[in-house]
């Protein structure tokens, strides 16, 4: 355990700490973020109404849409000089959600990713290969700071250049791997082509997240690498990776709830659901200074496990592996994609909205995205090169906007299935269950 005092804190004490932190959070948000002041006023709640963690249900939810409307810095609660890092996640309309971190925020986040790594047994003696993307995406830098905080050697390989990843993994004696689960499978495939036997490497744990995966994928990864594969969860609005992590029990993800308070609600009514019931995951960032977050609706579907204490000794509650989304967001190679973003690009190219269908599949170990676009008269040309230019333009703009490479296929009109009411925009052929 990285921080036994916090991670194994008696539950009663933990609730008390959460209550104190919640009071402080609401006070800060109300005083410094006009958005929250207006929201709490409209809801008829004053910061003084919050006396303990049980009062959290009195507070209104924060939606992703509201977060985005505060672009760029409307959610920030501190003067800009106190912000030391800015991350941004993809939004549904081109405007990302922007998260600013103070030095304390970075420190707390690193603490949580360090705890996540320690969940798999990592210590200062380990070498941690971080094959998550580095950049605005929180995956790479989030795990990096955690590895350093742990005192381990961080190896910032980022994603891509798989052959080199394998060479370094072998030559540097990497013991801990962090990546998306699908990229881990990709690494294994390339290693096999190179004739490298990964089972001979000193790897002991892998921290895989940023996309949905299954028990079957876990078994495959553990057959291909000599490591324990652990699920790690996070989202940039809340912090990044390290909001919750599995321990070596491999049964549910411990939420680091002295920082991130979890609730499960009915997505329709907003009512809190008891442990063991499936619903939408909601987080309150108890300690965040840069962007305080109150009851943020993640749109992720899971449950809080209704079980006794975890044998690992951590007292925090555990959430089940993610079970889906309450909205239409797709996760493609770890990147969040909303169909409305694709629609946006198409509308901007032609000024009209053509019929389209997003087909997601998994070929080998990598997600693929194909966008079928019906060729209307306004898009059509009798010249091949103009149609090819159109196709390439859509490809480039999708890539620029979503950071995902999609195959664009021009199709004849009326070939995309119309359903009554809501048009079918996505066909997900990936088998994840």
């Amino acid at each position: 355990m990285f921080n036994p005092q916090a991670e194994a804190m008696p539950v009663k004490e933990l609730r008390k700490l959460q209550g104190v932190r919640l009071q402080d959070l609401v006070r800060r948000a109300y005083a410094h973020v006009p958005f929250y002041r207006a929201k709490l006023d409209a809801h008829g709640v004053k910061p003084d109404d919050v006396r303990g963690i049980e009062d959290i249900a009195k507070l209104p939810f924060t939606m992703k849409k509201e977060f985005r409307e505060q672009y760029p810095f409307g959610m920030f609660a501190v003067p800009h000089r106190e912000i030391v890092r800015i991350h941004a996640s993809s939004g549904t309309t081109g405007k990302p959600t922007v998260v600013g971190y103070t030095r304390n925020d970075i420190d707390n986040w690193a603490e949580c990713t360090a705890r996540s790594l320690a969940c798999g047994g990592a210590t200062a003696d380990d070498t941690v290969q971080i094959a998550y993307g580095y950049g605005l995406f929180t995956g790479g830098l989030g795990m990096h700071y955690g590895a350093e905080k742990l005192g381990a050697a961080a190896l910032p390989t980022s994603s891509g250049n798989t052959e080199k990843q394998i060479m370094l993994m072998k030559d540097f004696g990497v013991t801990v791997l962090c990546s998306t689960p699908s990229y881990a499978l990709q690494i294994a495939e390339v290693a096999a082509q190179m004739g490298e036997d990964l089972m001979k490497l000193p790897l002991k744990s892998g921290h895989f997240g940023a996309e949905p995966w299954t028990e079957a994928m876990r078994r495959r990864i553990e057959e291909l690498f000599p490591l324990k594969a652990l699920d790690i969860y996070g989202l940039s609005e809340v912090a990044g990776p390290g909001v919750a992590s599995e321990c070596l029990e491999q049964h549910g993800l411990h939420v680091f709830e002295d920082h991130f308070y979890p609730e499960i609600i009915d997505p329709e009514t907003g009512d809190p659901l008891p442990d063991g019931q499936k619903g939408e995951l909601v987080f309150t960032c108890l300690t965040k200074e840069g962007v305080p977050l109150i009851r943020y609706r993640t749109r992720d579907v899971t449950m809080i496990l209704d079980e006794g204490p975890c044998p690992c000794g951590r007292t925090s509650r555990k959430i089940a592996r993610l079970m889906g989304r309450t909205d239409d967001m797709l996760i493609i190679r770890g990147i969040n994609v909303f169909p409305s973003q694709v629609e946006d690009v198409l509308v901007r190219i032609e000024g009209v909205q053509p019929q389209y269908l997003i087909v997601v599949d998994r070929q080998g170990n990598l997600d693929t995205m194909e966008i079928k676009v019906e060729v209307t008269e306004s898009l059509f040309s009798d010249e091949v090169r103009k149609l090819e230019a159109l196709r390439d333009k859509i490809h480039h703009q999708i890539k620029a906007m979503l950071n995902v490479s999609a195959k664009i296929t021009l199709v004849e009109p009326k070939t995309i299935e119309r359903t009554l009411g809501k048009a079918k925009r996505v066909q997900d052929l990936r088998k994840l269950t």
Partner: protein
């Protein structure tokens, strides 16, 4: 002078071309000339028919994406180097050919080449200046 060509978008799937030609045939529209441009993903069918308006209507009703394109038909001397000579003159006139296709006319035993130019009006002027005769549209429709 300008010949109206029907262009149709086709997916690269089996049976698509047959389906289009069936629609046209059922309406009693006769095809005079045809060319198919294809890529790995899609194709563009270009048709010259005897009844353009009817052809367009039939295809649109069947749900196809159709456009009308103005092309020029030129009679090419039926001897070696005939077409080369014409292309040379087009090149001298700085005319850009987007695409072209040829067929042999049964009645005259002469080759007819259909040209799609970037700027059809400039092409007409240049062809005339070069002394190349352009077939009247009506002649082409009833070839």
């Amino acid at each position: 002078m300008k010949v109206r060509q029907i262009s149709i978008f086709l997916e690269n799937r089996s049976g698509r071309l047959a389906s289009v030609l069936k629609e046209v045939g059922r309406a009693g529209v006769n095809i005079r000339a045809l060319s198919l441009a294809d890529t790995s993903d899609f194709g563009i069918l270009r048709l010259i028919v005897d009844d353009v308006d009817k052809g367009v209507q039939v295809l649109k009703d069947a749900g196809h994406t159709v456009s009308l394109t103005e092309v020029l038909a030129v009679e090419v001397p039926d001897h070696p180097g005939g077409l080369a000579g014409i292309l040379e003159k087009l090149s001298e006139a700085n005319l850009n050919v987007e695409y072209m296709y040829a067929f042999v006319c049964r009645a005259t035993e002469k080759a007819v080449v259909v040209f799609r130019f970037e700027d059809v009006n400039a092409a007409i002027a240049a062809l005339k200046k070069a002394g190349i005769s352009i077939l009247p549209a009506e002649t082409v429709y009833s070839l």
